[in-house]
Symmetry: C2
Subunit: 471 residues, 2 copies
Amino acid sequence: MALSDLEVLERNEDGIATAISILKQRFGEKLKTSQALREQHAHTTTYIPSQLPDAVVFATCTEDVQEVVRVCAEHKVPVIPFGTGTSLEGGVNAPAGGISIDVNEMNQIIAVNAEDLDVVIQPGVTREALNDYLRDTGLFFPIDPGANASLGGMAATRASGTNAVRYGTMRENVVSMRVVLPDGRTIKTAARTRKSSAGYDLTRLMVGSEGTLGIITELTLRLYGIPDRISAGVCQFETVEDACNTTILAMQTGLPLARIELLDTLQVKMINSYSGLDYEPRPALFLEFHGTESGVEEQIALFNEIASEYGGGDIQWVDTMEARNKLWKARHDAYFAMLAWRPGCQGIATDACVPISRLADCIAETQKDVEELDLVAPIIGHVGDGNFHVSLMIMMDDKDEVARAETFIERLNSRAIAMEGTCTGEHGIGQGKRRFIRLEHGAGADVMSAVKRAIDPDNIMNPGKVVGFDD
Amino acid sequence: MALSDLEVLERNEDGIATAISILKQRFGEKLKTSQALREQHAHTTTYIPSQLPDAVVFATCTEDVQEVVRVCAEHKVPVIPFGTGTSLEGGVNAPAGGISIDVNEMNQIIAVNAEDLDVVIQPGVTREALNDYLRDTGLFFPIDPGANASLGGMAATRASGTNAVRYGTMRENVVSMRVVLPDGRTIKTAARTRKSSAGYDLTRLMVGSEGTLGIITELTLRLYGIPDRISAGVCQFETVEDACNTTILAMQTGLPLARIELLDTLQVKMINSYSGLDYEPRPALFLEFHGTESGVEEQIALFNEIASEYGGGDIQWVDTMEARNKLWKARHDAYFAMLAWRPGCQGIATDACVPISRLADCIAETQKDVEELDLVAPIIGHVGDGNFHVSLMIMMDDKDEVARAETFIERLNSRAIAMEGTCTGEHGIGQGKRRFIRLEHGAGADVMSAVKRAIDPDNIMNPGKVVGFDD
């Protein structure tokens, strides 16, 4: 699939009409079919064109989701779960039409189990809402993708973000989930324990399955104590390679970095311009350390030592929440800074991830491509995990530029995979990366298809995403 | 299934005979059919009677395993992977006969990627052999079940041990695996990266599947830097409840405990007697802290403060490797200490795991059961994870005692499950816990069966373990 193509699946017109009429009776005003709402529920944050669902049901409880799924199962109609619609790979599109299940009203925090360091929530709770709620408990949930996404959606895409280098991704931080199966039954994927050897790992099977095996209606997540001290800072380097090598050595030393984010020169210029900052126009690492007072002191001293070996400049450390928030807001606004830099462009996100030992090479070769293909494409990366995003800023009406972007993406993903890496560290496969699944997984793609067929034999769960029946 | 029963599956006599004659030609002396070797390969560490395979093939490479599986697939003959045979739940038994694939000669360490903090190995490498090999690199692999198990077997059962409270289990520490599928093809389960969102999590699907979905022939594992300082110590309490509450508070405080092991009074007496030690005859926590010099000092101070709130006695900390080894050897010898305590008894391991907030209650109710049912059953636990082992020391020719043991196990596992826990924190399901899968997972057991049927439609991969086709 090229950037401009989009798979269209066969529609089951009769089934869709019947299902909507049944669901309309059952859900009344909670079911909507207006064009505006359908468009909103197929909205994707990137270049992928919208494919609208035929109706949207606003679910308020697990039973609502079960009811929609049962009706859709009977009439073989697709169901597409919808959280905040911030998928970067067309996760909420409806290539065969069907019913979008909006879980935003399922936004209750059911239980905070402070002794167990976990929380039970509904899937529409966003990461910011959860942390606001937790503020007085001294606990927090660390996973922070760019958007203020719903936690159900984050589990579905196996999301991560800037803190993953220390706290892991949704893979490590979902304890258990309630999931509505394609036949309308529900399962609890696991006990609420820190570990288990009781059979297949259904939690990890569902995390990252992007709604293609079931719909998440409840999550138990791990929490962490807010550290006594948090220090953030920015360290700048002559080259991206120096910044990467600093990262590698810091990781290898076992330094418990909480955040280590690379920005290349272009990205630094963009955030300077957008956020009114005055960093030097050269590569930067945005850093954060968590720990006790003396622990953070120790980490800072060790990091300074490592960074200076690679010519890292003096680091200004900030400890107040206000100063830290300013720094990380600039980092999180990188996407908007890009759009402002080249008005009218469409941002296309990439998401390569490689073993950290290959990171400097992979980025260097990628930067050569950016230059050779004459693209405007800043780099920002969760480099402690070997994950970096080249953001292509494309004028979509310039056919030649679009074609060069396609070439770039093809080369980047193939390069990452050849380096024992992956085409997606955290965004998911969705529609946009379907064509790389076979390249990356070989016969593993057949195992994924077999699992999909076994659990969802009528292919009603978010069809057209991740894997098909014969991928 | 009661303790004394054992499921027997239908044997495919013609298929087995044909497969053995083909494999004999292919493998020559690498295939054995002697009674002694077959008995050894059905050996289980516990009460479960042996069910012998019909032949054993000593594989030396992935291609050997593929060859055996292809022949067995063609003739619908079971294959049972064999590492060190230390399964506690009958994992290596052959209830329908078939071919045992012994991977002990696949014991090569293929690559140490120090920069990436990972290592690529064959499945027959044991945890001790790996750590011996790594000694000069400054790195180590933390997962330590009681036995010196093979790492392939540890991945297959999702094993953990005393360090899991800090470093996680095999679930968190397997990066990727090569697996031979039931049709003889191989897959790589994932990229060699710290994270990925590229489709279903095949690594976690295979970890803990106990050889029922495929056979592991290569593993990439996460490594950790050996800490600057390691301190171990023993803290004793008046009651098990005090020891549990100390554990809960230490965990909640975010203390990065490397090990926290509970021994009840009976277990302390046993190791005193077996290992010539002189701990007071009351409950004990065996502890270990990892970190920098000042970090460990800080942890010790904080732990002392917490323990003293619950009447924890003075802790004697030991730092030398010799003193630490003596302490942990006594802990790891607990099983032998038990057998020596009651000569002629059979040890039956249990493996309940609950949310840590329920741990004190769960253990208290369980101790009442031990008393009421008049059993000899010390308790030892990885309490930081909420996981504890009641070891039943049973005279197997005493029918009444066996019946009381069955009642005890039934109650224990039901209690753990009712407390949002699991019947197995780390030993796996195997044959021994099959009857608890439905109680614990409800409809989730159907999802497991569906996955099993999809990936292994002829049920040749370690049949009779974990889930059946219709569990």
